[in-house]
Structure formats: C-alpha cells, structure tokens
Symmetry: C2
Subunit: 540 residues, 2 copies
C-alpha cells in the first residue's frame, strides 16, 4: 500500500545564491538605493546603508580541529561556509554579520549525505570533545545555531541540507517519510505530484527545513487547529550519541509518555533528527477569504475569540492591529483588520465563511467591501507583504534601524491586558533607548480556543554601532513584561540561547531536572548544541 | 476575568456503594439469576455463578507498615479498603477478587484531603522505603494499580478521590482548574452550571478520574479531533518526590520539549498529578446522528477512512463490525454498522451530517432507514449498551466466561490486514485455549486521518479455576499479532504492568534511557508505582 517508487527530484538551488549575511537569496536583497529609500520612511534612520562586507576578506578565527579522513569529503572549513553558518537570521545576527564579527564561527561545516555520516560525525565529535550544532537552513532568530561556549575543543556546524528527499509516500494513510534537511519548497514540490501537501507554512518556509521545524516546534501560518508541527508528526528518527531513536508510525498511542514529544522542541540538544513520517493533507480545492474591519482592537479580539471558540476552524484568522494593518497596506483608516480564510479539499466552503462573517459581525466587525481585485485581495496583499518582510527587515538593518519581532501566547483572560502592557512598556523603552518614538505593532498569528499568539514588531531608529545593544535592551524589557503577564517566552521561535533566561523562569524546576538527566543519558559527552535549553555544566 | 466564586458542590456518593470486587456500584451488578441467564447465551459457560466472597472474611496479608502520626487520620488499613485497592478492573482482576486472592493488597490506603498531604505521603514513603501506587478510581485494566514487586518495605495505595473539586473557572478562556481526583460525573456536574463541559467521556467515565485520564493518556468516546485527553490540557500540577512541577497555563508554546507531555502517560511513575487547568467547551446545542450499514467490513473501513480524511470532524464515528453490531443489537442482518454523530454549540449541524452521509454513500454505505424511535435510536441503543458493558462483563466473569477487550491503533495502510490477522489468529488461539469457538468482535473507537483505533472484544467459555491463565494466553497471542503488524500495544488503556513486554518492544531504546534517567531524577528513592514503564532496578 506504500508507494516507494522513485520520488520526484528535489528542486535544485545553488547554495551560492543564498545570502551568507542575511535572509534568503542574494538576488532578492534590496539594493543600496532601495535601502536608502526605505530608510527615509523611518525618521532618524541612517542616511546610507551599512556596506555588505566582502566575504572573501572576512577575518575568521583560526580553525582548531580538522576532520578525520573518512569525513573529510563532507566537511569544509571554507570561509564562506564558516561565515554563513555562524549565525541564524535574527536582527542581531544580521547586524553582526554586516559588521564582520565572526568570532563565533564554527571550525568546520559538515554536510553529511547519509544518516550513517551523521552518526560518524557524532562519534568523532564525542571522542574529540568537539561541539556539534545541528543546522537546517539557519533561520533561527534566537541564537539557536550560534555556539557561545568555551568548553569544547572545536565546533562543527552539522548542516543537514543534503538530506532533503521524500523517501516514501503512503497514499492510503496520507503520510510521507521525509528527510529532515528538506526545505519547505523542495518538500512541497516532491509531494505535489501526489496531490498531497504537508500544509505547514512558517514565515521562514523557503529557507527552513523539516528537521528545524520539528526541533523547534515551529508554527505554520495556518491559524487554527493544525498550527504547530508537533501534531503533524507520525514518527521520527533521531540520531543520538547513544543510538538511533526511531518511534513507530502510529495515528495515536497511549503507551507511556510520547517519545516524539521529548525530541520535539529539543533544539538539537538530545539528538539529530534525520527523518520523520509526516501526516499530509490533500491539496485544497475550495477556498474563500474575506477581511473584516474593527474600529477598536479590543473589540476585534473579542470577535477573534468567538471565532476561535466556535469550532469552525478557519485556515486563516489573522488579526492585524491598526499599526500593523497600516504598514501592510490593508487598512489606511486606523482600523484593525481581521483576515479570514477557509479551505477544503472536499466541500465548498462558502457556507463556512458566511458563518465566520456572521460571528465577526455579531462581535462588532464590518466585513470589508469587495474590492475590484476580488474578494480576497486584502488577504493577498497581506500575504505578499508577509513573505517579503525578512528582506525589508534586512534593508532596515542596513540603515541602522532597529527592526525585530518577538512572539508569545497567553490565555484569553489576559490577552487585552498583555497587548496594552507590551505596547505601553515598549513605547517607553524604545523612547529611552533610541530617543525616538518608533513603532510597536501587533498581529495575532495563531489563535486557540483558550488564547491567542500575539506577535509584536518593533521598528525604531538605532545608533550605528550600538544596534545590538539597543535591541537587547528592548527585548529584555519585553521578556519581563511577558513573564509578568504569564505569557510564554516563545510560541514558535524556540528558545535557543537568546531566550534562555526567560525559559529558565518559565520551565518548572522538576522538569528541568528531568531534562538534564535525559540530556546526560542521551549525550553523555555533552557535545550537542551546548548552551541551548540546558547549561553545558549541568549536561555533563 | 476569572470566576473563583464558590464552585458547585461535587455530587456525593458513598464509597460504600462502590463494588470492591468489580465494576461500578454494587446495586448495578447483575443478580445471581441474571448472571445464570446471561451465561446461557454463551455455549460452554458454567451453570452457576462464582459466588461473591464476604469482604469481611477475606484473607489479607499482614500489614507491614503503619503511617506516621500526622498521616494516620488519612490512612486506613481496613480490609475493605485494602481489598478494593488491590486491583484495577481488568477481567483477570475481577476473577482474582472473586477467588479471594488478595496477596497483592496494599498495606495502607491513603486518602489525602490536601496537596500538602500528598507531599507528606511521598516524603514519608521515600524515607521509609515504601512503594506508593497513585490511585484515581481504580479503573485500570492493565495492572496499573497493582503492586507486584518485592523491593519495598510496604505499599501504600494513594487514593486521590478526596481531591475532587473544580477550584476555578475562567469563562473567558473556557478553562477550569480541577483537582485530579474528580470523577467524570462530579467534574461535569460542577461545570454544568457554567454551561461548560470537558467533553471527555471514556467508557470508564463514571468511575475514573481526571488524574487517571491524564496519567494514562485516556481516550474519550468522541471519535475525532479531541480524542486523547492530552490535547485538552492547558497546564498541570504534579507533586514529585523532588518538588512540585507546575507548568504555565498557555494555549500553545514552543519553549523546549513540553513539560506536560512528559507527565502525560507517566502512569504515576514520575509524580502524582494533583490538579490541572483543562480546556473546556460550551455544551452542544445542535446535534444530529445517523447510522449507515455496510455489507462488508472492509468497504466500511474505506468509508470511515474517507470521513477521517475529510476534515469534517464528526463527534462520533464508530464502526461496529457485524459481530459487534449484532451483539449491541443495532444490526441483525450481518451488516457492519457505522454510527455517525455531529455536534455544535453554535451552528446547526444538519448540513455537516449530510456531507458525512454523502461520503459514506459514495463509499458503499447505505444510510439506515429512520426508525420510529427517531433518527438516532440505533446510536442510542448502542450508547446505552456501551455504558452497561462492564457490568455484563462482570456477570460473564462470574459465569467463568473469558470476556475481555484489548485495543490498538495503526495506520490505514495496515488496518484491513490487521483486522483479519487479529481475528484469524485469535479464532485459532481461542479454540486451542478454550476448546470452543467463542467470538472475536471489533469496533473502531477512534479514527484519525492516518489510521483507526480498533478495539477487540473476546468472549469464550473458560474453565473454572483457569480463567486467568486462559485469558493471559489469548492476550499474549494478541500482543504478538499487534507487534507483527506494527500496531501500538495500547491506544488508550495505558501500559501498566500487563503491557510491559509489548511496551518494551515498542519503545525506542534511547527514549527508554532518557525515561529511566528522568525517573531517577524525579523519584530518586524509586517509590512511585514501581514496575510500571521502567524496571524498579533501573530506576534506583
């Protein structure tokens, strides 16, 4: 019943096109002139863009470890490889890359072509006292792929991107066995001929991998029901230093604590995810979407809550506050905008959309008039802006504008208060830190019956040379507000190294003991992504 | 926004009414005459029922440990308490209770009235080398509450039933903080005045607790979407020997591996769940149901699969094979029967039911004609039979009929084959073991897009005195078939002690190492439910 015939080839794409300092591909980065023009929209921004350094002229630390002969063919210490694997894609990462600060560069970048080579890298590293940082496509915005310790003889970035194939498709159960290094587009391209889709679209979709999604408990852009990748997992294969952990393919089980749930969110600290059986869906054939305007964001939150609790499960239910809506160009009159979408592979969805609009109207919303571009042109406008945002962020970064996001989740009883508290406190801090008022906008990226996942964007002019310190101060204040309001340190950006202080406050202490014990059992030499989730000292 | 005003009183119900040897309450147990009549339906059954022993005349092992003075008021070594806490409610438990075999009786039964007393029991037990077996309402059918070791100085059954209150209700987020000892009916009775429901209805609903559901990853009888209790948890409080583990109330989080998911399914081995914030729903106002007949069970499975993959999420989607349907009295002509139900608190559901029936018809089903009792009378007939089944099982047990169930889950690609393999192999084994043909029936209790959860019932005449050995032989053969077909050892009955061999084969070895390490970290003295999930020797 399983179709293991030749899978479609993954789309090729030369890594040489990929930006080594910022988001995505080099051809989509904004030009100097575009950066300058964009900077003029932010009062107080620099006049000229930070230059992009010449990658061949970078100063990198001396390489401390060489690979064993057997692994030499899949390891590289070329400057471009080391530089591009030093950081993720956080604001602070891009700033430091532009400044040519590569003190944290790994000694080697390993690109195994087989799972056996993954095992060999771990065996060698454990023996040699070398840290291993698992790396999908490097889209971490929380310092998840940046080694910051001193305890190891060297550091290897373990890049899984060569393991990018759909190995097997079970059409009957609608599932596929996929290698962890598959990027979003390559994965979908391999599923499309079978009429199937994973339907997991994080904003990083083009430049993040299945393994990264699993290791960080990523959230896709579908707003309800199947949001976190966790629920799409049927089974996983994880190479740990003490052996391969492969769970059974099961639609459900009650046999002890879920093995997969220990590795989901483990961020490369317990093992290296090499493949997973993922639950798929048929590609939707029926779609409908609409936007609803609200004069007041708190009224809008009430409507969103009613929808989240209605059991109607819209595919899209994204609330943009007035600032965010203005920036995305979907509302100019100071309204908050709710973008609604419904999809089905099986049945027309117009009735469902009507039910959603009824709920929204009953809760104070005004469905937007249909524009000439069609009923969903506001949704399209927003989606297109959404995908280009990281490139704009990089351009603003070059203009020394502090431009970054953070996200959280809380229960509905605290949502309005949290929204006001974050915006209020950040307005103060941004003013203190930057001297300008800046903007702090919010959207709800995901909603649940018991609460929303608010996502905040901060834009303010920075002082050239102090951008990282300025953002760190703003972010630190934001984390305090989240903690005070019992909101999570992260809904889908993971913990990495940047969220460790907040994570340590959020995580119950007995669970921390259990996690450290599990880490010691699976990674006795303490080589796996040291400093993430667990202190290196506690892990060995 | 939180309503912490006086919660409704839990319904009282004297523990004296509860059966100490079998299911539920004594008044609902079948009389001797009813047992005899029922036995006549099973060719080869005994002529007279096994007598129910006099609880005051039972032979119990000597009490080895006495409680410290501070805990004496909440501990009991009364024979009825010890006897009623010796076993769960598996077939083999009921047989042994009827035979007066209480060699495994706990020394003490503790009924803490506060969480602090739970902590005190654990502290004392760790100090005294006494095993603690957490006990909700004792509905385990897998030996989950029966101590079988020899390593401890004594055994305490830790009965949580006095901690049975809804402590707080958050109407806005639709969640409630509930003590772990709440039984199903008491929990729902406290939620009903608020128009809310947990909507989790395992077959054991009347005589199982929230804490038991969480510790065993219970499945409710809603067939799709929210089946396992896991997904209804917002946060948990767990008393471990090294401290209280309290997770944050969050609708979603991506901060490391989920702390709750380590304790969900931990079956009392890592800590004692004392309370949880649970996600609630509004009580449904719109309901519709129907039944569909199929000439062939495999055709029916195809229809069920189409429904599971349609995104329509019926509340009920229960497939009874012809034997099961005949026994439940919902089809007499050898058909397989699909019971469909749809519910909503918000919108009429007739359209949804039509869509489901269209799918079923397109896949070879014949919607049953509406009976005079109303459209859902077959569903009602079935549901009523469902709730009385454990009492019937006890009656058959008294007639020395081997009458037991086991359940599993597998992906759709293996479902038909598994069904035939289990029925084929069990027909042989039942014949070998009992000399009679017996019956092996199946229903699908839960369905997922990637597979069903089949539930098998075995009924065959046993030899008086050999019932347990006979069932163990049948069950062992069943476990082998499940393993060979890569089906889980349990979808919702938990592992306990009876499923350990199957669990050890199913569980990946690195995860076993991690779990043992977590156990050692949280329960360093190895007192919590020894022998479940982890070997006592490995745990200390």
């Amino acid at each position: 019943m399983t179709d293991s015939s030749t899978p479609h080839p993954a789309p090729s794409g030369s890594p040489a096109d990929r930006s080594w300092w910022g988001w995505g591909t080099l051809d989509k980065a904004l030009s100097d002139a575009e950066c300058t023009a964009l900077g003029q929209l932010v009062p107080g921004a620099a006049d000229t863009p930070l230059p992009v350094p010449d990658v061949s002229a970078l100063t990198l630390p001396k390489v401390r470890v060489e690979p064993p002969a057997a692994l030499a063919p899949v390891m590289s210490s070329a400057p471009r490889d080391r530089a591009s694997h030093t950081y993720g894609k956080a604001y602070r990462d891009v700033v430091r890359a532009l400044r040519g600060d590569f003190a944290a560069a790994p000694d080697q970048v390993a690109r195994p072509r087989t799972e056996q080579q993954v095992t060999e890298v771990l065996d060698w590293a454990a023996e040699a006292g070398v840290a291993v940082v698992p790396y999908g496509a490097g889209s971490s915005v929380v310092g998840g792929v940046e080694y910051r310790g001193r305890e190891h003889r060297g550091v290897v970035s373990l890049d899984l991107s060569a393991l990018d194939r759909v190995l097997e498709i079970d059409r009957v159960s609608r599932a596929a066995r996929v290698q962890a290094g598959a990027l979003g587009p390559g994965l979908e391209a391999q599923l499309r001929p079978h009429g199937l889709t994973l339907r997991h679209f994080p904003q990083s979709f083009e430049f993040s991998t299945l393994g990264g999604w699993l290791a960080t408990r990523a959230g896709g852009h579908y707003a309800t029901l199947y949001t976190h990748i966790d629920d799409l997992v049927e089974s996983m294969r994880v190479v740990t230093p003490v052996g391969v952990n492969e769970s059974m393919r099961l639609p459900g089980s009650g046999a002890g604590p879920s093995p997969d749930r220990l590795f989901l969110g483990s961020e490369g600290t317990l093992g290296v995810i090499t493949e997973a059986w993922m639950r798929l869906q048929e590609r939707p054939r029926h779609k409908a979407s609409a936007t609803v305007l609200f004069d007041d964001v708190h009224t809008a939150m009430g409507a969103v809550r009613a929808i989240a609790q209605s059991g109607l499960h819209p595919a899209n239910c994204r609330l943009l506050d007035s600032g965010e809506a203005g920036l995305a160009g979907v509302a100019r009159g100071g309204e908050s905008v709710l973008v609604l979408g419904v999809e089905s592979a099986h049945f027309p969805v117009d009735g469902r959309l009507s039910e959603l609009l009824t709920l929204a109207r009953d809760h104070g919303g005004a469905p937007a008039p249909v524009e000439s571009g069609g009923a969903d042109s506001a949704a399209d406008t927003w989606r297109s802006a959404f995908l280009s945002m990281p490139y704009l962020r990089d351009a603003l970064t070059r203009m020394s504008v502090v431009s970054e996001t953070f996200e959280t989740a809380c229960t509905w009883d605290r949502a309005s208060e949290l929204y006001e508290a974050v915006r209020g406190r950040l307005a103060e801090v941004v003013k203190d830190v930057t001297g300008a008022s800046g903007t702090v906008n919010c959207r709800f990226t995901h909603i649940y019956p018991d609460g929303p996942a608010p996502y905040f964007t901060v834009i303010a002019p920075g002082r050239r040379g102090s951008e990282v310190a300025m953002w760190d101060e703003i972010k630190s204040a934001a984390m305090d507000v989240l903690h005070d309001h019992r909101a999570t340190v992260t809904h889908h950006h993971a913990v990495g190294r940047d969220h460790r202080p907040g994570y340590d406050r959020q995580r119950p202490e007995p669970f921390a003991l259990a996690l450290r014990a599990a880490k010691r059992a699976l990674d006795p030499a303490g080589i796996l992504n040291p400093g993430v989730l667990v202190d290196p000292a506690a892990a060995i």
